[in-house]
């Protein structure tokens, strides 16, 4: 009784936990500029990615008069996607599945071979963050200058630099958001409409949205996007193994770390690492690579460049931080040599999956049809008996004409006895072959009445096949459907 009435006193640990904040404060990262092969490669990828992104909508592509003349255009309004000489309809959306599979498996393969190089070099978040950091460094100076100014009092120098930086950031962000909308509308047209106030509210809305997200994500959020928002770092561990080439601190060589190497190296038995923290200072995500593989590491290799600079200066061999595999590092530490193993079960599987998906996609693209047929049987009535004793079934026939000319299509029917067809409300005579006209680049919908005297009804239905043939090109396709009559389950 008294035990229940007494309040439980929280233990010391619990008290401490209840006082701890739910969210860790962000430690601001001030990356220092660095030079070296990794940095050069990162700049090259950045320039290529940005050039492609900004320039692609302006590439023209002649598709004939009156048709979209943009090489890459996602025309949502007219339900067409254009990629150079390829043209996709909403019905082709499964190609998107293929593209996503290819993209995902490529990512898995590259990650299992060389770690998160996507994150380090090609991810838009990395590219734009890098670009924004470059702007920041041009205006506010390098790491130490920035830190000093941020901690110092408000001054004119601080104010104009901050204003200038954010102005340039917003400019770049706006350019980015503006380029985005050009993928969804003809670039010159939408640009003119944008500046003359003629564009739709959707254009302004999306331009603003992508300006805002670029500014916030690349200017302010930066490495927090990778650490907290992006799901990829959370499951990338499943792609990596001990044979993946990743940015690695060679601990067996560097430890124990310490200063004063030249004087007292021998007696202190220090490793090559002089503990200068150059690798930490250049890291865009603000981590210490010497702690080993970690979630925040985007494998960009800037710490490699930074460490090499120091190693050269201290007169030691380069590549204390390098790209290597965990297995080889372990062997090195034990004084063994371990071969590079690129062929592993997972890489073989990824390559096989890539080849398979690529082949399927390639074949599907190469043999893409310009004609499509879909036939839907009437839900009710399933069949109607007409005066001369025949049965009549109604169908909704849709003809997809992907060619750029209006075309006559011949619709014929196989598998039904005494068959005849008519277009409802158009012709009364029953014909063996219907001629249906579909406009260029569009879908024609027809209600087709099929008359016949089915002789092979099973459970009230019999399989029939519609065949559609483009009279001009000879391309044809078919669609399996059913003809229904009495004796079905519903009739029992």
């Amino acid at each position: 009784m008294s035990r229940l009435a007494k309040p439980r006193k929280p233990s010391a640990g619990e008290e401490k936990m209840s006082e701890a904040p739910l969210y860790a404060d962000r430690v601001r990262v001030y990356p220092r500029a660095v030079h070296g092969p990794a940095r050069t490669f990162k700049w090259a990828v950045l320039v290529i990615c940005l050039a492609v992104y900004y320039a692609l909508p302006w590439i023209r592509w002649d598709r004939g008069p009156g048709r979209a003349s943009q090489a890459v255009l996602l025309d949502l309004q007219n339900e067409r996607f254009y990629f150079f000489n390829l043209e996709f309809w909403p019905q082709d959306i499964y190609y998107l599945t293929g593209a996503l599979i290819l993209g995902a498996v490529s990512l898995f393969l590259v990650t299992s071979l060389a770690g998160r190089v996507w994150c380090g070099y090609a991810c838009p978040q990395t590219v734009w963050t890098d670009l924004f950091m470059w702007v920041e460094q041009r205006i506010e100076g390098d790491r130490n200058a920035r830190m000093r100014r941020d901690q110092g009092p408000a001054s004119f120098d601080k104010a104009w630099r901050k204003v200038a930086k954010h102005a340039v950031w917003l400019g770049v962000a706006f350019w980015t958001g503006g380029a985005w909308i050009m993928y969804y509308a003809d670039a010159p047209t939408v640009t003119r409409a944008f500046w003359t106030g003629q564009a739709s509210s959707a254009v302004y809305g999306f331009a603003f949205l992508f300006t805002a997200t670029t500014y916030v994500l690349a200017g302010w959020a930066r490495e927090q996007v990778c650490t907290y928002m992006c799901p990829w770092p959370r499951f990338q561990a499943a792609m990596l193994d001990e044979q993946s080439f990743i940015v690695t601190y060679q601990g067996w060589r560097g430890e124990p770390r310490g200063h004063g190497k030249r004087d007292a190296a021998a007696e202190k038995k220090l490793g090559d690492c002089v503990d200068c923290r150059a690798c930490v200072n250049v890291c865009p995500t603000g981590i210490d690579i010497r702690d080993g593989v970690q979630l925040e590491c985007i494998n960009c290799g800037l710490c490699v460049d930074a460490c090499n600079e120091i190693m050269v200066r201290t007169g030691q061999p380069k590549w204390l931080i390098t790209w290597d595999t965990l297995a080889r590092q372990k062997a090195r530490a034990e004084g063994r040599r371990e071969p590079i193993r690129l062929l592993r079960a997972r890489t073989v599987i990824y390559v096989a999956a890539l080849l398979l998906a690529g082949t399927v996609m390639g074949v599907a693209l190469a043999t893409r049809a310009h004609i499509e047929l879909s036939v839907q049987h009437d839900r009710a009535p399933l069949f109607v008996k007409v005066r001369d004793g025949a049965l009549r079934n109604g169908y909704t026939v849709k003809i997809v004409n992907k060619t750029h000319e209006a075309a006559d299509f011949a619709l014929s029917l196989q598998g039904l006895e005494a068959a005849g067809m008519a277009v409802a409300e158009e012709n009364d005579a029953r014909m063996p072959i219907l001629t249906l006209t579909a406009e260029a680049d569009s879908v024609g919908t027809f209600r087709v009445l099929v008359f016949g005297q089915p002789a092979r009804l099973v459970d009230g239905s019999q399989d029939i096949t519609f065949t559609l043939r483009n009279a001009a090109t000879g391309e044809q396709t078919s669609y399996r459907s059913v003809f229904m009559g009495p004796g079905g389950r519903a009739g029992r």
Binding site: P381, V384, V386, R387
Partner: protein
């Protein structure tokens, strides 16, 4: 029960003063926000009862000072909807039915309105998609007793069949059995003959008598070969579709004591635009002429 209100040392609240086997209960007052919300809902309820229909009486109810009524609201909504549709429906009324099909927009409105009006008014007898049932003609088929042209359909829907309206379509088949015009064996003979018209006759039987009886009694309306006559509403006997069935029993019954189906005159209930829409919709089911 002894009441000893004491202060609880931990929470600082009074207890209720009751004790059950050592268990005491805190007398924590209701939160103020909760209490005031309760008071507010009480006030709200009183105001509501004054403003809106609330207190039931013996033969009615207190309607509330605002005079709100959901029935009035619905009636107004229906009126507003009709006003909204008036332009199109007036156009539909003014356009001759054959010309409606020339105007795709008007036609789209008409077939939609027709589909809904059909579901509301016609489908109990003719089936949800016009497939018909014994005694109720299939409208999706092509066997028409009074004609399947748009004008025929409009007329039939407007005035009905044997509906009592002066302009209704009326046909009267004599009760050959019930009124003693034919003897039972004669009815059986003519029934067997009629069945040969649509290929269900008894093979090898002597049809001479049946044919003779048919010629004297039936051919005037149903035609020499059972092709029917639409201007008198005599159904075709020779086709594959029969309103009341094609078995020997149903044919004999229909000759002896015919069923005379009735279709209401819908002009008593539907406006002209709706009737036109219905005719266009029925025509589009597949059997229109």
């Amino acid at each position: 029960m002894p009441t000893k209100i004491e202060k609880d040392s931990i929470s600082g609240q009074d207890t209720t003063g009751h004790e059950w086997d050592g268990l005491k209960e805190l007398n924590t007052p209701l939160p103020k926000w909760w209490l005031y919300t309760l008071y507010a809902t009480c006030v709200w309820a009183v105001v509501w009862c004054v403003l809106y229909p609330s207190v039931p009486g013996i033969s009615g109810y207190f309607p509330g000072v605002l005079g709100a009524s959901t029935r009035v609201q619905v009636t107004n909504d229906v009126k507003a909807l009709a006003a909204q549709r008036a332009v199109t429906m007036d156009k539909l009324t003014a356009t001759p039915i054959a010309e409606v099909r020339q105007d795709p927009q008007l036609m789209a409105v008409a077939t939609t309105a027709g589909r809904i009006a059909f579901a509301n008014n016609c489908q109990p007898c003719h089936g949800p998609s016009g497939e018909g049932r014994p005694g109720y003609p299939a409208l999706a088929g092509d066997a028409w007793i009074w004609g399947g042209k748009l004008a025929d359909l409009q007329q039939t829907i407007t005035y009905g069949i044997r509906s009592g309206h002066p302009d209704a379509r009326v046909s009267q088949m004599p009760r050959f059995g019930a009124d003693g015009i034919l003897k039972p064996e004669e009815i059986a003979q003519v029934a067997d003959y009629v069945m040969t018209l649509y290929g269900k006759g008894t093979a090898g039987a002597d049809m001479a008598k049946g044919r003779a009886i048919y010629g004297e009694n039936c051919a005037a309306c149903h035609g020499d070969n059972g092709e029917g006559k639409r201007d008198v509403g005599a159904p075709a006997l020779k086709g594959a579709v029969h309103l009341y069935g094609d078995s020997r029993e149903t044919v004999r019954a229909q000759i002896a004591n015919p069923r005379q189906g009735v279709m209401p005159n819908w002009n008593q209930r539907l406006d002209e635009a709706t009737i036109k829409s219905l005719a266009l919709y029925v025509h589009s089911l597949g059997g229109g002429e």
